[in-house]
Symmetry: C2
Subunit: 219 residues, 2 copies
């Protein structure tokens, strides 16, 4: 009964919540770096990561002598955002206030592992306009004409099948769907690799480069 409380208990600890918020930024982080960022001993972080992994909220990859943690699935990011919408400081009537101080976040940001913000929404619109995607009742479907994406080095057939290939994700600031799922992650990778956008070191915000302004449909 009430597994809900068990999951919530994992997020109820300040340190674990901070860890997950750091992971929300996108890139996988090793335990030691997390310890510095949230200001606790490495041993403490280690214990937390073990619990989060056991619960399936994060996955931990061995990478050399360090172990990098990242969110396990998009639902985790969605739950985190749904919870922060309940926070007292978040009583914005129509959805801005908290973001106003962060203009960069409105322009372009990564939502877990895919593009969000105005750029993300514009990209989704563009893919629909080009016929690559269809929007059917709030969910995206891939259309045959999506093959032009292979131009960007995205192999649709080769995308991991563990998650929905494409999924609509209601954007936080724009209140419009953008492309999440494996395709969304692949698109963000392409944008980073081609230097259209760059991660700002503080986490989830992205900077659109000159190159990106020329290449991306929204600029």
């Amino acid at each position: 009964m009430s597994e809900l409380a068990d999951v919530a208990a994992l997020l109820a600890d300040r340190t674990r919540a901070r860890i997950l918020e750091e992971l929300l930024g996108g890139p996988a982080l090793p335990a030691g770096a997390l310890a510095v960022r949230v200001g606790v001993a490495p041993s403490t972080v280690s214990g937390h990561l073990a619990k989060l992994e056991a619960a399936g909220l994060i996955v931990v990859r061995r990478r050399g002598r360090r172990r990098e943690a990242e969110l396990a699935r998009p639902e985790v990011a969605e739950a985190l955002e749904a919870l922060s919408r309940l926070a007292p400081g978040d009583a914005r009537p129509i959805g801005l206030r908290a973001v106003n101080g962060h203009a960069a976040l409105r322009e372009a940001r990564s939502c877990y592992d895919h593009l969000a913000g105005r750029i993300g929404v514009a990209l989704a619109d563009d893919l629909v306009a080009r016929g690559a995607l269809g929007l059917e009742g709030g969910a995206f479907v891939v259309r045959d004409s999506a093959h032009f994406l292979e131009m960007y080095g995205i192999d649709l057939a080769g995308l991991p099948r563990r998650r929905a290939v494409v999924r609509a994700c209601a954007d936080w600031t724009e209140r419009r769907p953008h492309v999440a799922g494996a395709l969304g992650a692949a698109l963000l990778e392409v944008a980073l690799a081609r230097d259209w956008v760059r991660r700002r070191d503080d986490g989830r915000a992205l900077t659109v480069t000159e190159l990106g302004r020329a290449a991306l449909p929204a600029a």
Copy 2:
């Protein structure tokens, strides 16, 4: 810092989680009834309700000598559902398993205060088809031709303005948007008043009556 953990802590207690799950069913419940349902002393429930109210998760109305609690806003229900999607038993690949035992829930159920399930989705589709609503990028907008709803005793102008008049709510079992917000709540009220659907006493599941099968677009 990290208000997320504070909110999560409210949901992390088994008893409080049970209380909120009961409230998810829809109707407001007095403290004593909650005590019986979750199996703790009334004094314990009283303490929990005070905390939940202080945090703005529920509102408590005085009604005679009893105090009835209900969820404060749709975001609370959304966060609860987002969290239960993380529960270990909920590892359904494409979104069924947990509901399979509850065929009634798939057919029609109330999601916080509006119609959901197959009926709820069909209703939303129907309203779009009739031109009452438009679906613009994942959010519903009210169109002029929505006036025919007044036939059902729904006064669009008289709906409370505190919340979005109409809002798309991604349905749990159907993965399709249905009508939430004040209009969604009003529609559920109409359906209950005209005996198209009846609440089953166990909470959120609804039964579609013969009358409803004739009147509702989906049957």
